[in-house]
């Protein structure tokens, strides 16, 4: 309990008749990256916005760093850093001026140029914010979220809409923050992002928590079996494989074998030896592990990405 920097109990947020967050509880430990994962409309942003003092609670309670969010909003704001969804800064101020503006909002703040250096923005220091690319704007947003040297950093969909390179840059920045001992609350609908960055993942669906744990734990519990994929096999190889291995599926030239845990290594070595001895050819052999996408699919029947069923 002592290690918890956030304690949320029975959180509810209603908009009229619509319940966006439906009676959820969770704790976040000091120094961890805690990710809310879910499709659009799952309630991720509403949940973090209640913690960021952006939205009021319909019911329930939140304690951040031991302070009740309903009573100590100012104290909490001084100790957290926030990169809100759809973050925007002053278009006609430079990177330095924007970061300095927000730094001056706090009684104590870090050196602006140190943040600029840390986020790799040195050569953009005197460029107007409005002229920056999406990825650079997000990096400025992360720099601004750190101006008060916060103990907890909230990053709400920090990579949405970014190209792969910019996304990797933001991931590197997040990993660096974790290395500096910050507690990070992340929301994302990218399973790869959650899997890459998070120590613990809380999966939300229709305003409710449907699973919570480490990515490995969730994949182990809900991801389903691993699969041995043997691709582009000749007829001879395919016949040999299906004679020897049970629980296979044929998909054109490919042979898919379910790995349920106990005899995995035996099955893999058998497959390898068949390919080796039959003088037949297969192009590729690999193991496909389950991902958080499979976890979500198995738990809800929906895909994580928008519109998928």
């Amino acid at each position: 309990m002592v290690n918890n920097v956030i304690e949320a109990k029975s959180l509810v947020k209603n908009y009229g008749d619509f319940t966006a967050v439906n009676n959820i509880s969770f704790n976040v430990k000091k120094g961890e990256v805690f990710a809310f994962l879910g499709p659009n409309g799952a309630g991720k942003t509403t949940t973090v916005e209640m913690m960021e003092c952006l939205k009021s609670l319909t019911a329930g309670s939140i304690k951040i760093l031991g302070h009740d969010i309903k009573k100590d909003e100012i104290e909490i704001k001084r100790r957290i850093g926030v990169l809100p969804q759809d973050f925007g800064a002053f278009q006609l101020l430079t990177v330095y001026q924007n970061i300095d503006y927000f730094a001056q909002m706090y009684p104590k703040h870090v050196e602006v140029d140190d943040l600029i250096k840390m986020l790799g923005l040195k050569d953009k220091r005197n460029i107007l914010f409005g002229y920056l690319s999406g990825g650079l704007k997000q990096r400025v947003g992360i720099a601004i979220s750190l101006v008060n040297d916060p103990e907890i950093v909230f990053l709400d969909e920090p990579t949405t809409g970014l190209d792969p390179k910019a996304r990797r840059d933001v991931w590197a920045a997040i990993k660096d923050l974790k290395a500096r001992g910050k507690t990070i609350i992340l929301t994302t609908h990218y399973m790869e992002e959650a899997q890459n960055l998070a120590d613990r993942v809380c999966i939300l669906h229709n305003g409710r928590i449907i699973a919570e744990g480490t990515p490995e734990d969730l994949i182990g519990r809900y991801g389903g079996d691993k699969m041995l994929i043997i691709r582009k096999c000749s007829e001879i190889a395919k016949n040999e494989l299906i004679k020897t291995i049970q629980e296979y599926t044929i998909d054109g030239d490919n042979v898919l074998v379910k790995l349920s845990g106990e005899n995995d290594m035996k099955i893999i070595s058998k497959a390898a030896s068949i390919i080796d001895t039959s003088k037949s050819t297969c192009d590729e052999l690999y193991i496909r592990k389950a991902t958080l996408e499979n976890v979500f699919l198995n738990l809800t029947g929906d895909k994580l990405i928008e519109g998928g069923k």
């Binding site: 925007g88 101020l93 503006y101």
Partner: protein, 251 residues
């Protein structure tokens, strides 16, 4: 206090970084008086004869134009709020310790200084180009400040209801256009039909224009003080209601 000073400082930097906007802000009054000088210059003696109070049309018009510039505080306030709301600046600001009130306090100072600078340019241009004699005194200065607060308050109130920039421009231009036509800004109220004269009585711009005319041109201090009192009370009400209802939270 330091947060107010920071916002004030950077809001000015932001304004002056917007080169086109700032050029228009200060060049427009000069162009306006150049045009007026040319268009109405040839009618000087006729205009003098038509004015019962001894004022010529330029004397009548200048305070009206100054009042119109003060009314642009509506567009300034509403435009800033709607833009910051749309671009996510308020979303970010609301996660920091600065309060709504501190931000509004900083911005009303900035809008007032900007309006006063615009008026200074306009008065200088009017004196230089048309030769209008202007008496800037404490009452006229107070009228300018109270008028800015009044119309900025109106802008804040409008921004509470209008959420996008395109609709905002239509609404503010309509309000400003109608108000300036019926408030004795460009045309004397006495020459208008009775329904328009009634509208003039309920328009705050009427009292601002008349107050500026009395304090700066005719020297009628009694009338100017009465108009100042009306503008100040309306300013306190509109700005107070605007500031009290302004929120950057999105609940």
């Amino acid at each position: 206090m330091s947060r107010i000073i920071t916002d004030l400082k950077y809001s000015f930097i932001e304004i002056f970084n917007d080169k086109i906007n700032i050029i228009l802000q200060f060049i427009f009054p000069t162009i306006l008086f150049l045009l007026l000088g040319n268009v109405l210059g040839g009618l000087g003696s006729q205009l003098q004869n038509n004015a019962a109070s001894g004022m010529n049309y330029f004397d009548f018009l200048l305070p009206g134009i100054l009042a119109f510039f003060i009314m642009t505080a509506t567009q300034m306030a509403a435009g800033t709020i709607v833009h910051y709301r749309k671009s996510g600046v308020f979303r970010k600001l609301s996660t920091t310790p600065i309060s709504n009130m501190e931000w509004i306090a900083a911005r009303i100072i900035m809008w007032t200084i900007l309006i006063l600078l615009t008026l200074a340019v306009a008065m200088f241009a009017a004196w230089l180009i048309i030769g209008v004699h202007i008496n800037v005194n404490l009452i006229s200065l107070l009228l300018m400040v109270a008028g800015t607060a009044l119309f900025a308050g109106l802008g804040i109130l409008i921004a509470n209801f209008i959420k996008n920039e395109e609709a905002l421009l239509t609404v503010t231009l309509t309000i400003m256009g109608i108000t300036s036509l019926v408030s004795g800004t460009f045309i004397p109220v006495e020459t208008m039909s009775w329904p328009l004269q009634y509208l003039a009585k309920i328009s705050p711009l009427t009292y601002l224009s008349e107050g500026l005319r009395s304090s700066m041109i005719t020297g009628n201090t009694g009338d100017a003080i009465t108009d100042l009192a009306i503008v100040a009370v309306l300013g306190i009400i509109l700005f107070g209601v605007g500031a009290a209802t302004f929120s950057w939270k999105e609940d």
